[in-house]
Symmetry: C2
Subunit: 253 residues, 2 copies
DNA sequence: CCCAGATTTGCGCATTGTGAAACGATCCCG
DNA sequence: CGGGATCGTTTCACAATGCGCAAATCTGGG
């Protein structure tokens, strides 16, 4: 334990985290058996930890006894300093870009093998690309996802490819590890990435990364448009916006 | 431990929760000494648990080593089933009310001694009452806060009054326990509450509660307007909207 | 009603979480 | 500048708490 202690690990907290992550991977409430299998924990251990998480309101149970995330995560999440900072800082810039381009601007964070859309600025026109806040998309078919993979390094890209098998969403989706590594490298090198109808036909995207005060990737910023309306002239503005937001987040690049 | 186990408590998870709550009470990052004092934990124990929460990304440290909430709470919070349900269910109703009244409609959850605004629908007019998502207000000066206190019972109201001392925000704020208890009772009895310039002069509000499938208070719904624009004819619509959303949340009143 | 599978509970044990003490770092004051 | 105070971090020994096994209970389907 002294060895474990020096590396900061407390086993039961790691295990509770694994259980929360396992629940979060499902849209619907999930059974003890599934959670036990997903985390590799003995059923009675999982049951005990989940009971404690319920008591502390991190987890709830539905009518048939299945587990879902609980209200304390919402309460704490809303209180998250970086949540308020990140969205409050990014939103005015996003709105400015939206008005300038006349297209949808999105803010995303990485969660495991997907990006999650956490804020949006949509244009006042009937036809635009729509991503709901809270929705998810695989990393390899999104501009910012490819940047996040590139920033994380080749082993991370390889691990992602192994876990997901790089499924095709359109005829343009990158489905081989070699091509994905090239694309990620290239994207990181030039500072922005494109989604060329890789997630959905007719949808194009330009994405950049946002960095926080520790120099880590904090989020992604992207503009999505019907492919024939996308302008490569937006790249400079996106890069500048990414720098602006990152600086406000305390990044000293 | 067997006795503890049957009641679902795991000490270190309870302690980690207490630390997260303590951090969440501060707007700014907070020191180990303060957290140790707030939770009653020995400094080295608190240090250890915090290190594990950092490793699992529930907590981050800033440049001077102070602790703040971490990004995993955001990622999990966005994935929260009841968060997606609550906001997705409530938003269309809120937008309808906004268009009908021409005023701001807000969705709030209780967090300790405050309400937190988690969703909003703002009217398309320059002058309206504005509450940012993520902002907070004391319970005793908001309509839904008074309902939440009333729903929680007299001991809860008393405890709240003792903790906060009922500070005045305007000349209209309720600052005595007896008056607060009366107001909360009356509000619960009739099903809605008013904020009559108690939080801010010139601002009026009508609030109702939303209930979930377990019959518990899930959130509050309110319409805020400049006081001279507020209409008591909105009460029926607010009550109906509260019932509608609660039913969609699975409430069987 | 019976059976199989899932969940829950009891129990004993060893490993893991804990607090005290020691050490390190930083800041402030004389 | 040096010493003391304060805060944070690490080491260490120990006991209690988290854990897994096994049994009991529950639930749903045939």
């Amino acid at each position: 334990m002294s060895e474990k202690g020096s590396s900061g690990g407390i086993q039961v907290i790691d295990r509770a985290t694994a259980l929360l992550d396992a629940i979060a991977r499902y849209q619907d409430p999930v059974s003890l058996k599934v959670l036990s299998a997903e985390t590799g924990l003995h059923a009675s251990t999982a049951h005990r930890i989940l009971a404690s998480l319920i008591q502390n309101r991190f987890v709830e149970r539905d009518a048939v006894g299945h587990y879902r995330l609980g209200i304390r995560l919402l309460q704490l999440g809303v209180r998250l300093h970086s949540n308020i900072d990140l969205r409050a800082v990014a939103l005015p810039v996003m709105e400015r870009l939206r008005d300038q381009f006349g297209e949808s601007v999105n803010l995303t964070v990485r969660e495991g093998d997907v990006v999650v859309y956490i804020e949006k600025a949509t244009p006042n026109r009937m036809m635009h690309v729509q991503q709901l806040v809270g929705s998810r998309a695989p990393l390899h078919v999104t501009a910012v996802g490819k940047l996040m993979l590139g920033a994380a390094g080749d082993n991370e890209i390889k691990g992602y490819a192994q876990r997901t098998n790089l499924p095709a969403y359109t005829r343009n989706t990158i489905t081989t590890l070699a091509r994905l590594i090239d694309e990620c490298h290239e994207s990181v090198a030039r500072g922005y990435a494109l989604d060329n109808e890789e997630a959905e036909i007719d949808v194009g995207c330009i994405g950049v990364l946002l960095y926080d005060s520790t120099g880590s990737v904090a989020a992604g910023l992207s503009v999505s448009a019907p492919i024939e309306r996308r302008r490569m002239t937006w790249v400079d503005e996106m890069l500048a916006a990414g720098r602006e937001i990152s600086e406000r987040l305390g990044y000293r690049g």
